[in-house]
Subunit: 400 residues, 2 copies
């Protein structure tokens, strides 16, 4: 597997564009289109929030047939909670994009991210869609990425290639994250493209497998938003023998997709609103999958743990406390906790550790916290970030 | 019912003291004793965290017989997660207090609040207990309150009297809160005293009723700690006819206890770490109690809601989003949301409201958010606070 340039336009037969149409201030890019030259098999994973954005609802309907040509996304306005207009506007976005691309509106997906409760400025959106379609190019991946960012500081894109029975297959991806990030799905949007020839059912299975272990293992603040989604389009332009069963080629494909999703997911945590550090919380020795998940997600959500890491303070008591109220079944008297490689809590009691060494370790930009429950043999891990002054600043004035 | 002075020493037959013994820095008070002149019936409610502080474990054993004379509490060190020593030290604290008060160690309760994972400095604790017993006085309620505070900025004490069949009965209370506060129980400690003559079973019932609606309806950061507890001691010194059934006198007693607990609970939210505002989240029209609780607790925990309120931003989309992922069953298209008296979301969509008026309202120190699900007829409410720079500051350097 090789890392290659191009993001979502690295796979053959994909074009993309990102333009500024005036939804975001200061002429920042705010409308993206990613499209395949021909109809692709498609799959998606969506927010579990009961409240769902209007654009997302339209995509959920359009993806049912298993095919898509293009996806159109605006940032700066979530097109959520504005009543019937929101659904109508989202529908119109797919119709206009379809008309310009000469395809069926059912084959256009749509999403939006930004402020909730404000109607879309449709004249701007319409002109944005026209400009974006005109700008579509096989070098447009990074522009599309830029146009889906909100409070993201770093662009998030990657592409890889693998060889499947002599043919080169490419997978590209872009994502936006930042705040309101928590399993399952968050204010995040992820778009994956591939030129692999693969059946819809296996594409769907691969996506769900990857999302579970990557995007659903990122927590910035425990909030899940109403617009979150990950889409994948596979257009078959690589001409590999179709992947139609769970064979060696399929597993190679999943590994590559997992790599792409892991890269994007970790970047989302690292670039969480106000984040100064990437934190990976690992649990070993859990009794079952559900307990393992409870432990990592509860620790990752604790503002007390996250502020302690921001303050570079080895306050493991807060980690242990969060494990204690996670709802997981375990014996506190067996629990070990490590910060990096330093054992800070052995069998539920303070270990003799070098505070200075721990302090030094916590100065790093990437911190690993390991919890061993010594009950069963199930492991899990989640990525999160610290909680800083800037998180409060960004979120205290988001709409201004 | 009248509000009276004296806190936990307002009821007849109670003394208290708070002294500095060197656990906290800068000669701040850190050891409190509250005691009844004679054995009192006693009840307690404890943290649901699987990890429990050693002192708390001793109290849970000692309160089983339903009686207590005194409670000894240190602040600055949680006496948690330090291994066997922690249990032994807590036992010794009850034994020494009992010896000096000439009672049974089983009748002494003990608790601790502060940093986790550090052993108690027992020479300091011993001298503190001796000084505190010497200092016991019927005017000592406020000193005891001061000695249980950690990052609290405001002392939390109150007392009331009521008349039960011609006799005056008093209820007093003190509490500490601040961070790591969330149902059920948190880093909080509450002590209630009363001179009422009441059976153990009704005292217990009254306490659980009050805690459920007050202390278990406060959330600062969603973290529940390992030391949380509320104790009540009733010594019968008021000479009222014993309350032994759920009659008019009982309900009058519960109302007064509810008033005391509500006062202390709201003060805990208002004084949450870094708080600049007290926020009350109310839900109406929920289908059942569980859904009602899910809604208010999820909104109260959302860092995005709490930072928006800190920023005085009427970002109701975040409130609606939190309701959406709360797990409660409801129809988003029926939901109304109010900030104060301003309807900001009607039937799941943005209402036309005056942003300037909302901004003005959010400048106040006490904010009410109302959510109406229009599904059933169950209501609930919770108190929380906003999330500020100071929360991050306080918790980034708690141990330093």
């Amino acid at each position: 597997m090789n890392i290659i340039d191009g993001g979502v336009t690295a796979p053959k037969g994909f074009k993309a564009a990102g333009v500024a149409c005036g939804i975001k201030k200061n002429n920042r890019k705010d409308l993206a289109i990613v499209c395949s030259e021909d109809t692709a098999v498609a799959s998606g994973v969506f927010t579990t929030n009961v409240v769902k954005g209007h654009s997302l609802q339209v995509s959920m309907e359009h993806i049912k047939n298993g095919f898509a040509r293009a996806i159109v996304i605006n940032s700066g306005n979530a097109n959520a909670c504005v009543g019937e207009t929101g659904y109508k506007d989202a529908k119109e976005m797919t119709e206009l994009t379809a008309e310009l691309l000469q395809c069926d509106a059912q084959d256009v997906l749509v999403n939006a991210t930004g402020v909730i409760g404000t109607k879309l400025n449709m004249p701007s959106i319409r002109s944005g869609i026209r400009s974006a379609v005109n700008a579509l190019s096989s070098q447009g991946g990074s522009d599309a990425e830029e146009a889906i960012m909100t409070t993201d500081l770093m662009p998030k894109e990657i592409a890889v290639d693998i060889e499947l029975q002599g043919e080169t297959v490419r997978i590209g991806g872009i994502a936006k994250g930042s705040g309101m990030i928590h399993p399952n799905m968050a204010t995040m949007i992820g778009i994956l493209t591939t030129d692999a020839n693969i059946s819809r059912s296996l594409l769907d299975k691969a996506l769900k497998q990857c999302v579970k272990k990557t995007f659903n293992r990122v927590s910035v603040d425990g909030d899940t938003s109403v617009c979150d989604s990950v889409f994948v389009l596979a257009n078959g332009f690589a001409d590999n023998d179709a992947i139609v069963k769970e064979d060696y080629e399929y597993s190679k494909f999943v590994d590559a997709m997992m790599f792409v999703c892991t890269y994007l997911a970790k970047l989302m945590a690292k670039d969480g609103e106000g984040a100064t550090k990437l934190i990976e919380i690992q649990v070993d020795g859990a009794g079952d999958e559900s307990d393992a998940y409870k432990v990592v997600s509860t620790v990752a959500k604790s503002p007390l743990v996250k502020t302690a890491i921001f303050g570079e303070d080895a306050n493991w008591g807060r980690i242990f406390t969060a494990v204690g109220y996670s709802g997981a079944s375990f014996d506190p008297n067996l629990t070990d906790i490590y910060i990096g490689d330093i054992l800070v809590c052995r069998n539920g009691a303070a270990a003799n550790f070098d505070e200075a060494a721990a302090k030094e370790l916590l100065k790093k930009k990437e911190i690993i916290i390991k919890i061993n429950l010594k009950k069963g043999n199930v492991s899990d891990r989640i990525w999160t970030c610290d909680f800083s002054y800037d998180y409060v600043k960004i979120n205290g004035s988001y709409r201004s």
